[in-house]
Each structure stands twice: as structure tokens, then as C-alpha cells.
Amino acid sequence: MNILEVEHVGFQADNRQILNDINFTVADQEVVTISGPSGSGKSTLVRIIATLQSRTAGEITYNGKSIDSYDPIEYRREVSYCFQQPTLFGDTVRDNLKFPYDIRNQAFDEQHAQNALQSVDLAANYLDKQITELSGGERQRVALLRNVMFPPRILILDEVTAGLDETNKHIVHQMMQRFNQDDKITMLIITHDQEEMDSAKRLITIENGQLKGDENRE
């Protein structure tokens, strides 16, 4: 069953066509890699899917219903978007992993947070570490964990491995794999990384705001 259907989606801003007639569907638990040159409209497309901005044409269906019919807050808890070079909140790692609990008015599950940290090669005592003391790779891992403290149905990753060294990249790849296989999360991954493109099971290419290729390699 398709969890996401993108039909004839377009986006225009200041008389400039950023996206034009984009069509594709995503099956439940599928991993879709989206690639294309800088400025081709990839980030705009996924921000539209994440409802952080609105399309100017076409329709997007999530779980059989138009994304416009959902409460945007509830929708974003199911379709979560992680930014390239994310900002960490507050002072400590705890402030970040606690945020998903706070917005749901739930008590922070410290044990769960510690387990999550350990699963990405960060010690449990990182919970009270100052965010200013984290390396780039550690920051990215914490940001990713923030998106999955309550696993979403779809996780959108916008060049989250850009600028990471090989070790951190490898850890993030393992995280992605676990999110998909263990947590059954559908993944949309934007990347410029050749290795990630080569290993993609399905690769969508966007150029000049248009869908240039949709290759299923399985």
C-alpha cells in the first residue's frame, strides 16, 4: 500500500517555477533516495511533503487522505523532517531529547533516552552533556534521535550525512537502517553522496524542478 502519493506537485515563488509537475508514490516502509544538483528543488519538495510550506499546484496524499485534511501538528508527528545541519535546542542533550515528550505533554523517559544514545555509540551520560561540547557527528546523531524518540511513520532526511567524516557517516547509515528495519519507518533521503546514491534501492532524480528519473533497483 502507498503511504505517500505525490501528484502533479508544483511550487512557484516570486514568478519563478521551483517545482513543476512532480509525480511519484512511496510504499509503506520503503526507502527512497532523492538526488539532484543544488538548487534543483529537492529541499523545497520535501519541505512541502513535511507541510513546512505549501505547494502551489497538485496534490499530496498521505495514508489515503490529502495532507491538507490533517491537523498539521499531528501530521508532522507522523511525517518527521530532519534538517541538514540541524540546530540543537537549549543547553544540553537532555533538552533536545526531552522536547518530543514536552510537546506531547508526556513525562520524559530517561531510560529510553539513554538507550537511544547508546544505540548510536553515545554514552548514557551524554544526556547531560552541553551541546557546545558535541562534535559535528555527535550533534547530527542527537538531532536524528530527536526525530525518532516517538517513531514517525515517515522520516525525511535532508542531506544529514553532508559534511560528516566516514566514521560518523557509517554510524548515521546504521541508524537509518535500524529506523527502517526495526521501527518500520518509511524513509525519504535526500543526498548528494555518491556512495548513498549507488547503494539506493530506489533513486529519484530531480533537476531544474522536474522529476528526471525514478529508478527502482530491487
Binding site: 513535511a50 507541510t51 510550506q53 530532519c82 522536547f99 510537546i103
Partner: protein, 258 residues
């Protein structure tokens, strides 16, 4: 009790001091000579008009006229606060509402406790003090909201993308903005009597009132100002931050700042 005897000649001579400011502006090429001249002329005309108006209103002593003047002060303060909002929607009514409530609460409490009497000689100056301080606080809040929603745009977007409500995603900016609005009043409170003798107290002492008596009034005004600026900032920020979002809970920065 009236020690004040300033003749028109003395006033004209005091105007000579403006030349000092003009000279500095001219010498340093600050480009503010024109503004300064217009400012001085406006201040003189406005103050004379207000002086004669107040003399009339105090003489007539009508409740309706007093209330009308208080409302004019509040609307004017609201309009000026709105001008600092740089495109945040609905800020005229938000500012008027926030200044009206904050001023009414501060002044009303003092009237109810009989610390002040509802007579024009007391109501109009005290309303002016509360409304102008609230106006400055609200203007600062708007400026802070604008710059923070701009500078911390990504953090807000990330909070939204994690499923935070508009309020949850803006909370750090809301708190910071209210604090910014209140800060000058809090700072002034801390240094009161050490760095500066406040205007009202100085005025009373000038007029020959016993300084201890003047201080009591100043303490009351300080408490009122703290209440008015905190309430004004709080209301204006909570009513205006939603102007940075559309009805789809998307961040849309006001046009003027884009």
C-alpha cells in the same frame, strides 16, 4: 510651595543650549540637524498646546473629558508602538489593547486603593507615564520578535517539523521578547535614586514638595510602571507572535522584514 518661576526670557535663553547639540551634529556631520530642529519646534508647540489643554481640563474637572483624554493618550501610544512592529499583523489593535489593559490595571488599582484620585490633574499625567512606558516596552517586544523569528528561523522550523505547536515552537522567542520589553524598567528600578532621580520625583521636589513625600509617590509610580510594562509586554507578545504563522501552522515572516 511653588518655587518655580521660569520667565519666557529664561526659556528663550535655555533654547541657546540647543545650539550646543546642533554644533556637535554639524561638526561631526551626523546628519541629524534637520531632525533636531524639527524635534525642538515640535516639542515646544506640543508641550505648549498640552499645557494650555491641561489647564483647561483641570479647570473644567469633567470625568468624561478626563476619560477621553486618557483614551487619546492610550490610542496614540498604541499607534506609536504599532509603528515599531515592522509588518507584524494587527499590531495597532494589539498595542492599543495591551496598553489599555496594562494602564487601566495599574491606574485602576491605585484609584481603588485611594492612593490616587480620579481627577484630571492626577489621571492624565499618570496615564501618560504608564502608556508611554508600556509603548516603549511593547515596541521593544516587537523588535525582538522580528529579529528572533528571523535569526532563529531554522530552530522554529525544526520545532515545527518535530510536531511542536505554534506556541511550543515559539516559546523561547516569546520568553526572550517579554524579558526584553521589561528589561529597561527593571534596570531603571535597580538604579533609581543612585543613577538618576526619576522625572516625577524631581518635578515634585522642584515644585517644593517635601522629598520624603515625593519619594513615596515615586515608589508607587515605580510599582505601577513595573506592573504596566510587564503586563503590556506579556499581552502584546502573546497576541502578536501568531502573526508570524499562517493558518497551516507554517512560519511566514512579515513582509516588511523579508
Amino acid at each position: 510651595m511653588n518655587n518655580l518661576a521660569i520667565s519666557n526670557t529664561s526659556l528663550a535663553m535655555a533654547a541657546g543650549l540647543v545650539l550646543v547639540a546642533l554644533f556637535i551634529g554639524y561638526r561631526e556631520r551626523l546628519g541629524i540637524d534637520r531632525d533636531m530642529v524639527i524635534g525642538v519646534i515640535r516639542a515646544v508647540i506640543q508641550l505648549f498646546l498640552v499645557g494650555y489643554l491641561l489647564r483647561y481640563v483641570i479647570k473644567v474637572d469633567s470625568i468624561i473629558l478626563t476619560v477621553v483624554l486618557m483614551l487619546i493618550i492610550i490610542f496614540n501610544a498604541g499607534y506609536n508602538a504599532m509603528k515599531r512592529s515592522q509588518g507584524i499583523p494587527h499590531t495597532f489593535w494589539i498595542s492599543v489593547g495591551a496598553i489599555f489593559i496594562s494602564t487601566t490595571v495599574a491606574v485602576g488599582t491605585m484609584v481603588l486603593t485611594h492612593a490616587l484620585r480620579f481627577i484630571p490633574a492626577q489621571m492624565i499625567p499618570i496615564t501618560g507615564m504608564m502608556a508611554s512606558q508600556s509603548m516603549v516596552a511593547i515596541g521593544l517586544c516587537y523588535r525582538n520578535l522580528n529579529s528572533n523569528f528571523h535569526d532563529e528561523r531554522q530552530q522554529v522550523l525544526e520545532k515545527l517539523s518535530l510536531g511542536g505547536t505554534v506556541k511550543q515552537s515559539s516559546m523561547h522567542i516569546i520568553r526572550e521578547s517579554i524579558k526584553t520589553g521589561m528589561q529597561p524598567t527593571v534596570d531603571a528600578t535597580k538604579t533609581m535614586g543612585i543613577v538618576a532621580l526619576p522625572g516625577m520625583m524631581s518635578g515634585m521636589i522642584f515644585a517644593g514638595v517635601n522629598p520624603v513625600y515625593a519619594i513615596k509617590y515615586q515608589i508607587m509610580v515605580t510599582f505601577m510602571l513595573l506592573a504596566a510594562t510587564s503586563l503590556g509586554s506579556f499581552l502584546a507578545v502573546y497576541w502578536s507572535y501568531k502573526g508570524f504563522y499562517n493558518n497551516k501552522a507554517q512560519l511566514t515572516l512579515p513582509e516588511a522584514k523579508k
